[in-house]
């Protein structure tokens, strides 16, 4: 019996002591939990474009160490490859997947259509609160391009503002045949040189243009890119026109037709995307988009087989496509929009974060030469290459050795010299004419490349093309666009 009471006593003692410690630990645990709650860092999931890199995790770790201290957050950066980015994001957005930030632009994961479908969180308020650095840094015309119905839905990279098409000439051939670069201006001006090359150099393509690199049509501000013939003329900015019905386009078609017949263009230009000739140097002249000192990059990269000279085709201008060349937006489903904006703000204000993402870890992927220049280490070539144009304020980033010191100054000059295209900031709502748009897109794809490459006789073909477009409903589309444009135009010029 004694034993029994002893055991009961022991049991009670045990129980009480357990309870006591339990309470004690509970209190401690509770305190810890509360402390943790105050400190729990937020993890942001970020989808962006680029080929996944081997050292991405390494860089991310380094980044997160810094971010934890600075904004109490970590970033889970997910790079999706170029060719699949749009498709994958379409499914993820469609399924309402959980993520915070995503890359978007005019040529991938299309900005305008995502805004129309409500995939992005409106940013005006967030920019005022956590994104002040962005508002201070980014050029106003960029923000203009990002605004749809007065609200910004994604933030553009602060880089070259506009587009300028540039002729690139194979200097070896130019020297051989005494070509004066001053005479290389318009498409028509090339005629005598193309003839000379054609007659004397059988293995060279005189005019290297193709599907992905169509000839420039002057005075035309294309609303949706080369593939759709809807545009506004620079010198008559009140009307929306069918590009194929303009004289400027007709001139280009006729010139290209002559050139194609004469054999200056590759026979399969309408179906080929031949950048191969550029790489091997078997071309005389081609064109590409310019940014200040692009010729340095070109000479080292795509056009390394011969020396090159450049000549501009037109004044740089900024339109929706150029200002929306790279943007980062916050998903409508994000649980932490404020923190996401804080992170994005860092991309425009914090040199360390920006260069860490762009170039990797100092000492591992690059070595600094001076304040501005860096030397790329071998490891970077294999394990860490990031598309620097896709984030932040490029004016705060380093540059590889050999880059002229005044690169960013030249950029600023370039940006200042950009004229505004009439359509900058105009984002039409196409839902009322979506059936016609689908039909028009199909017809456009059918007729565009043959005309631009000069494969067909424009005097016959253009009327036919216009007729087909009309049957597909392009006039209704133009009417709808015109209505919306008139309202927007009036507001803009108030």
């Amino acid at each position: 019996m004694f034993k029994k009471s002893l055991s009961i006593m022991l049991a009670t003692l045990l129980g009480v002591s357990v309870m006591m410690t339990g309470c004690g630990t509970n209190k401690e645990v509770k305190e810890n939990v509360e402390n943790e709650k105050k400190e729990a860092p937020i993890n942001l999931v970020w989808y962006t474009i680029g080929t996944p890199q081997k050292d991405a995790e390494l860089v991310e770790e380094e980044l997160n160490k810094y971010l934890l201290e600075k904004i109490n957050a970590t970033v889970d950066m997910k790079l999706l490859d170029w060719g699949e980015y749009s498709q994958k994001m379409q499914v993820k957005v469609g399924a309402g997947e959980d993520f915070d930030i995503m890359f978007s632009c005019s040529w991938a994961n299309d900005y305008a259509s995502n805004v129309a479908k409500g995939a992005f969180m409106p940013l005006n308020d967030l920019l005022e609160e956590q994104g002040k650095g962005i508002l201070d840094t980014v050029s106003p015309l960029f923000l203009e391009g990002a605004r749809i119905d007065g609200e910004i839905y994604a933030i553009p990279t602060n880089k070259e503002l506009g587009w300028q098409a540039m002729w690139i000439v194979n200097q070896d051939l130019a020297d051989k045949y005494n070509v004066d670069m001053k005479n290389i201006t318009t498409l028509e001006s090339l005629a005598p040189y193309l003839k000379t090359i054609k007659e004397n150099e059988p293995n060279v393509i005189p005019l290297s243009l193709d599907l992905s690199n169509a000839p420039y049509v002057k005075n035309i501000d294309s609303l949706f890119g080369d593939q759709l013939p809807l545009s506004i003329k620079f010198d008559d900015p009140t009307k929306i026109v069918n590009t194929f019905e303009t004289e400027e386009a007709m001139e280009v078609f006729e010139t290209m037709y002559e050139y194609y017949k004469a054999g200056y263009v590759h026979p399969d230009a309408a179906i080929n995307k031949t950048s191969d000739y550029n790489k091997t140097g078997n071309y005389f002249i081609t064109k590409a988009h310019y940014q200040p000192y692009a010729e340095v990059i070109w000479q080292q990269g795509d056009f390394s087989s011969t020396p090159i000279s450049i000549s501009p085709l037109h004044e740089p201008f900024a339109n929706n496509s150029s200002t929306r060349g790279a943007m980062q937006g916050i998903s409508i489903n994000s649980e932490h929009p404020e923190k996401a904006m804080e992170f994005l703000n860092l991309l425009y204000t914090d040199e360390y974060v920006l260069n860490l993402l762009d170039y990797g870890i100092e000492g591992t992927h690059y070595n600094k030469i001076d304040d501005f220049h860096i030397e790329k280490l071998d490891r970077a070539q294999e394990s860490y290459m990031f598309p620097s144009f896709s984030i932040g304020d490029v004016f705060k980033t380093y540059a590889y050795e050999g880059t002229p010191d005044d690169k960013w100054e030249k950029f600023i000059e370039f940006n200042d010299a950009c004229i505004e295209a009439p359509s900058l900031g105009f984002t039409p709502d196409l839902s009322k004419v979506k059936l016609q748009m689908a039909a028009v897109t199909n017809v456009a794809e059918e007729v565009t490349s043959s005309l631009y490459m000069g494969v067909v006789d424009p005097s016959e073909y253009v009327p036919k093309a216009v007729q087909k477009l009309k049957e597909a409903g392009i006039d209704e589309v133009i009417a709808e666009l015109q209505t919306q444009y008139d309202v927007w135009f009036a507001n803009k010029n108030k």
Partner: protein, 324 residues
């Protein structure tokens, strides 16, 4: 009288045992289909609830897919108009149906013929080698096939044009002239797929009891008669099954073939644009889920109607071989 009573008793006992056996059998069958049914439910029927997208103007709202679906506006059949509203509607439907019908006929005739021929060849090892090599095109993706076709048909240095020049004829701009393409596409499609479909019939021929042939031979039948009266009738169920199933997909075109091989050449669209490429091109930029789902639904529906109709016809003529 007693005997009759006993017989009846035996009959009922027999019946009862049979019933019990049947139940046991049916349980076993149910067990056999269980994994499949589970899979079908999860991966096919559950997502099918999403077909509702086809009838809505889908927009995203905070809270994920289901919430977005609820909040999106119901627009009935508006999304379906996309297929019929354009002038091209007739062309793309004609192309899709036309090509598929020809593919089915040529494919069936040739694969049955090939299977029989390969089976009859005396050099068996050679026959096996041929079977294996016929399979190779199936492995190549349409993108790679389109590169090859380009090597042949390129205006500049294409092989065919080189041959034409050597024969003193004019070069042909293949990618700009629609009239050649039905033939080209039919040839390329069969080249790629015949190896694959022949295998079905080869396997079926293997399943034919040799005893039939033996007794036929004893009766003095010629080879041709053996093929006509034994092989082909035995292949009939498979031919019918495969044909009916193919008819069910007659409204769906092989996207890879029609998109890649003609290299998206605009002038060829009148003979190369099919429903699937048309939808892809029209919706690529806007990514309108409602319209694309609606088109898919429409294609499925037509296929379904066609299969049921064909099946009903087959049932009239030859009951055993209908799918249902």
């Amino acid at each position: 009288m007693n005997a009759v009573g006993v017989n009846e008793k035996n009959k009922t006992t027999l019946k009862r045992t049979k019933n019990r056996l049947n139940i046991k059998k049916n349980m076993a069958f149910l067990l056999m289909v269980l994994p499949g049914v589970l899979w079908l439910f999860l991966f096919k029927y559950l997502p099918m609830l999403g077909i509702v997208i086809a009838f809505k103007d889908f927009r995203y709202s905070r809270g994920g897919f289901i919430k977005s679906l609820f909040k999106s506006e119901w627009i009935g059949f508006d999304n379906f108009k996309f297929l019929f509203s354009s002038n091209d509607a007739y062309i793309i439907v004609r192309n899709t149906l036309g090509y598929n019908a020809i593919f089915i006929i040529i494919g069936t005739v040739f694969s049955v013929a090939f299977a029989i021929m390969l089976n009859e060849m005396t050099r068996k090892k050679l026959s096996k080698f041929y079977q294996t090599s016929m399979f190779f095109p199936y492995f190549l993706s349409w993108v790679i096939v389109s590169y090859f076709v380009y090597t042949f048909l390129s205006l500049d240095k294409g092989i065919i044009n080189n041959i034409l020049l050597a024969l003193g004829l004019e070069k042909v701009s293949w990618y700009a002239e629609p009239k050649h393409w039905p033939g080209i596409l039919i040839f390329v499609n069969n080249w790629k797929n015949l190896g694959y479909s022949t295998v079905f019939y080869l396997a079926a021929i293997c399943g034919i009891d040799k005893a039939y042939y033996e007794s036929a031979m004893i009766d003095g039948a010629t080879k041709w008669e053996q093929i006509k009266y034994i092989t082909i009738p035995h292949l009939k169920p498979l031919i019918i099954t495969l044909t009916i199933l193919a008819i069910g997909r007659i409204f769906n075109a092989d996207f890879g073939l029609f998109y890649n091989v003609p290299k998206e050449s605009g002038p060829l669209f009148p003979v190369t644009n099919v429903i699937d490429t048309y939808v892809y091109r029209g919706l690529m930029k806007s990514g309108d889920i409602g319209m694309s789902t609606a088109t898919g639904l429409f294609q499925s529906f037509v296929g379904f109607v066609l299969i049921m109709a064909t099946n009903a016809v087959v049932k009239r003529v030859d009951k055993d071989n209908a799918i249902f």
